[in-house]
């Protein structure tokens, strides 16, 4: 389901910049949190974005939902470019693009009941006649596996897992075609995580909604996603199907991410760096065991390593990529 067919949403050379602050920043420096990222997501596809915190995963997602204004590039959705649009022009697209956040408690109004949280988007977007709102809310609760009695509860009365179900339900009230789930299970307990992952899987299977799933947990990405993009300091460094990424990773950073504790004990993990490396050259060069002068001098372009498998590394052809089986 990767490259075939028309993508639902296509990012072309998207960049997001913030004003740099702090003692090291010059007067007019801009920091590119997302730097020249291109990727597409197909209808009904679950695309994972993995990488360390600060790698730009969340910024990328917020930019494509136009919660941030990109500095450059295009966001092509339903034949339109969302990137330059103002609020008024974006309004009709908003209901189609929804988000579920990491911390469920802070994404609800503490003074609204579950019913109000779910009814407000229905009313605001006139999804159904007023008389049907109540029925709709019950249907949403049933879909996310909660009893109808929960409609009168307040957010603080629910556990993290139950709230995350409501958050997913709220995102689905508007029948979006794309759902961004930002670390949606990382704050949940181990025994609850499986419930929410299965719920997201069901939602995709029954509604055909595309999901961009941001996570730092590679096992979770492997379970839920069809394709995975690996980000490092604002750059997309590798993109492929879960099998390509997990069984035959090409980029040295992806391989470090997939490494084991045993690799670490052998000292194969590479040192931790102080600050983001400079904007020229491969951002991973300072930590990469394979780096050469070329890597420091110029950023590697994204190249197709195989069908649907892209990697941004000058040396991907030379590096033995087969991972020893665990």
């Amino acid at each position: 389901m990767s490259a075939q067919g028309k993508p639902l949403l296509q990012l072309e050379h998207l960049s997001v910049a913030f004003a740099a602050r702090g003692p090291d920043a010059g007067a007019s420096r801009r920091f590119r949190a997302v730097d020249d990222v291109s990727l597409g997501i197909a209808p009904g596809e679950v695309l994972g974005l993995v990488g360390e915190s600060g790698s730009g995963k969340t910024t990328l997602a917020k930019a494509l939902l136009r919660l941030y204004k990109p500095a450059a590039g295009r966001i092509v959705f339903r034949g339109a470019d969302l990137a330059p649009m103002g609020e008024r022009a974006l309004a009709p697209f908003r209901r189609d693009l929804q988000m579920v956040f990491q911390d469920p408690l802070s994404s609800f109004n503490p003074r609204h009941t579950v019913f109000e949280a779910l009814a407000i988007p229905l009313r605001l977007h006139r999804i159904c006649p007023r008389g049907e709102v109540s029925q709709r809310v019950d249907a949403i609760l049933a879909r996310v596996g909660l009893p109808a009695a929960f409609r009168d509860r307040f957010p603080h009365e629910l556990s993290g897992g139950q709230l995350q179900r409501v958050a997913i339900g709220r995102a689905l009230t508007l029948s979006p075609s794309l759902l961004v789930a930002d670390e949606a299970v990382s704050k949940l307990d181990v025994s609850i995580r499986a419930q929410i992952l299965n719920l997201l899987k069901d939602v995709r299977d029954s509604l055909g909604v595309s999901i961009i799933f941001i996570t730092h947990d590679l096992h979770v990405a492997r379970y839920l996603c069809d394709r995975v993009g690996v980000m490092y300091f604002g750059k997309l460094v590798e993109l492929g199907t879960v099998d390509q990424i997990f069984d035959a990773p090409r980029h040295p950073y992806t391989r470090a991410l997939l490494g084991t504790l045993e690799d670490e004990l052998r000292g194969a993990g590479g040192p931790e760096t102080f600050a983001p490396p400079g904007a020229t050259g491969c951002r991973y060069a300072s930590r990469c065991p394979h780096a050469t002068a070329l890597c420091v001098g110029a950023h590697p372009p994204m190249e197709a390593a195989s069908d649907g498998h892209d990697v941004a590394c000058h040396r991907w052809r030379e590096i033995d990529f087969v991972r020893p089986t665990a």
Binding site: V190, I192, A194, N198, H216, V242, G259, L261, E272, F274
Partner: protein, 321 residues
Amino acid sequence: MSDLVLEVRDLRTRFQLQGRGVEVVRGVDLSVAPAEVLGLIGESGSGKTVTGLSILRLLPGNAEVSSAVMRFKGRELQDLDEDAFQPLRGLSLAMIFQNPVGAFNPAKRVAWHLREIARRRHGSEQGWQAGARDALSAVGIPHPERVLRLYPHQLSGGMAQRILIAMVLALEPDLVIADEPTTNLDNIVERQIVALFRRLRDRLNAAFIFITHDMQIAAALCDRIAVMYAGQIVEVGPTRAVFDAPRHPYTQGLTATSLALKQRVKRLTEIPGELPSLMSPPPGCPFAPRCAKVMARCREEAPPMFGTAPHLARCFLAEPA
């Protein structure tokens, strides 16, 4: 048994909340030997952290802690008043917290913190620089002189956690309680810190209690595992035994999920339901409402620990026939 660093029997911790007593730690037994890492695993709210804070007496005033035994290197800690206990804290019993940056004084450089540690350990600052450089090198900090000049906010999470570990180890404690020390860190850095703990375990003679909810980390680092659920230890045993042949259905559920994620199954098996509220814990086994193997007896009677040492489980299914 006398060579245990810490032995705790029937630890109970209650909080006064809205005029009611809520028991959060409900009869925990644990022990840890020199150079041993005991993994305390469980979900948030299961009582792991409160157990650690109870041992170090770091809980707020609305907490009541009691235990039958709280023996540290042969000494009963309950006999000590706060004045007698305070010198032990840090120097003998130390804790590493989840949020490393929060453990630093934000207005002071790293050097100031290590100087304080030297003063605490040796009673003087003399020669602290050499000790600080050694401590930082031991935890894999590449340029100690440079790092000593930094303020806490200039450190990455992994760097801050390494320095904190260096500070704790410079105190040469006999017991280190590490509470989710890698949870806020990224994947690669997390593995580096776990590898660091493993090297330190091999080098030092300290006892470690490693609190985590991450099964993989626990499996990689710990010698023994204690699984907590609703304020009780529901299973304890050698790491391999607990993960390869779990006896409590809750542990079985946890290991199944983490194994299934690795093997890329079509669908994860869920543990249905939620953690019970400790405001009104269910009678009988606290896991009974979620348990796939529940029997009538489980809902009425709280199971004791069954099995033969060292592998025990708080479940009637582990009862010898």
